[in-house]
Symmetry: C2
Subunit: 137 residues, 2 copies
Amino acid sequence: MTTGRASRRPTRQQQAVADILGQSADFASAQALHGRLREAGETVGLATVYRALQAMADAGQVDVLRTDDGEAVYRACEPGHHHHLVCRTCGRTVEVEGPAVETWTDRVAAEHGFIDVTHTLEIFGTCADCARGASAS
Amino acid sequence: MTTGRASRRPTRQQQAVADILGQSADFASAQALHGRLREAGETVGLATVYRALQAMADAGQVDVLRTDDGEAVYRACEPGHHHHLVCRTCGRTVEVEGPAVETWTDRVAAEHGFIDVTHTLEIFGTCADCARGASAS
DNA sequence: CTCAGAATGATAATCGTTGTCAACTCGGTG
DNA sequence: CACCGAGTTGACAACGATTATCATTCTGAG
Ligand SMILES: [Zn+2]
Ligand SMILES: [Zn+2]
Ligand SMILES: [Zn+2]
Ligand SMILES: [Zn+2]
């Protein structure tokens, strides 16, 4: 059958968003990513950046989380369920896994009769580099 | 010194916000709380509701978390660090504690050289009542 | 080439939240 | 009691992130 239901080849803009995401190791907001694309000479509309990010998030290709002030930030992550350890100063991000936490959340939820359980878990701190740098000021 | 640094007696509006929070067992948005105050006959400005909630959050008297779409929701909780098990259908909320999770997050952060560590952890699911009710439809 | 459908992007609209500032409250003072 | 000043209030404007709109552009099959 002609094309089949397989995912369509990504457009130049979608590819640009995917690329910029792949290059940055830390979580970044849609607007920040859009700015970087602009600087890099790519012409991509802000709305398209939002759409691409949303699609990739739906497809599980990027992780999304919300900053304290409600802004959504995105990051290209390894596939599979995991959590993040984020430096609240420089944004350095480490993916972490905790099988014990997974079982604990499921058990707690089950004890209270909850089903279809998911969870969010993020760890914030100050990384060694930032702790050293900020000690003087 | 006249009054001293002790906390001032709460105003009628601040008390009203505290009361409405104490009455609802689930997380609610600032606007929803404002609406309920209006229905209850209390005249409190929306800005004041936001201010009162922010003050109570800073004082650790209420927990704040963000819904998937970035809206801040508030709940009067027991003092002390804990997490939440929330029904994503009806909003029923259970406070849960997990000492093992606390030590795990601290240990993981320390292994990566992070200090001054905090974390967020919320569990979402469908409670027994909602699972029963929704099975037919 | 031609056309239908999908994608794009400039812009307007939405919506939660915060800032502004004049009016108000309230306890102390003379 | 009249007055003062610090803190609070609330109507409204301003803000910023996100989403909706819709005319234009792109794409790829026939
Ligand atoms: Zn850092
Ligand atoms: Zn997990
Ligand atoms: Zn429920
Ligand atoms: Zn905890």
